[in-house]
């Protein structure tokens, strides 16, 4: 299953809930303000790093770049463009958008 998160983890509980729900082997794609969850040095970085042991985390690079965060993504987070987003949806049986 693919989960998408589009909210800043500093402001809302969305990413945290998604991390609790994402099963081992599933994928999480961070988009829009959700990409703030993909960054090093924040108060949620540790939580995300820990989750990466069980799930694969992707982030939409156009959204990272728009926000000036090009060099700040946590190592191991996979950066994708819109085409990569499409591939992720195609590769997974279903998608849950955490709104």
């Amino acid at each position: 299953m693919l989960h998408t998160v589009n909210k800043s983890p500093m402001e809302r509980n969305t990413l945290e809930r998604c991390l609790q729900y994402a099963k081992k082997g599933s994928a999480i794609l961070l988009i829009e303000d959700g990409v703030y969850g993909a960054l090093k040095g924040t108060t949620v970085t540790d939580k995300v790093r820990k989750a990466m042991k069980d799930v694969t985390i992707y982030a939409l690079y156009p959204d990272i770049e728009a926000r000036g965060m090009q060099d700040r993504a946590i190592d191991g987070i996979k950066l994708v463009d819109y085409g990569g987003f499409v591939d992720l949806v195609a590769e997974h049986r279903n998608v849950q958008s955490w709104l």
Partner: protein, 119 residues
Amino acid sequence: MKFGIMVNEGPYTHEASDTAYLFAKAALEKGHQIHRVFFYHDGVNNATRLTEPPQDDRNIVARWSKLAAENQVDLVVCVAAALRRGIRDENLAEGFRISGLGQLIESGIQADRLVVFGD
């Protein structure tokens, strides 16, 4: 693969409608099919032909119309949500049609994937 897309937020206000568009465009470029884009909640505001963004900004409504014309994408605006928000045939942009919520369910049944873009 056949994708259904649901857009739940208005243009400019929330990035959801941009992301949905850029996703749809990328899917088409990869040779996928967009079965339908269904506009719900404030998403119906993507369909107003009266929008006039600043000249240096993207025209979100026109962009959808163009996508529909060039790729035979079915752009459906939910009638109940549209009536609440003042979207009717008289201010509907080209390429959009107003119909019922059944079109969303149908898209879920017929498409291989349904992706929701919202707030």
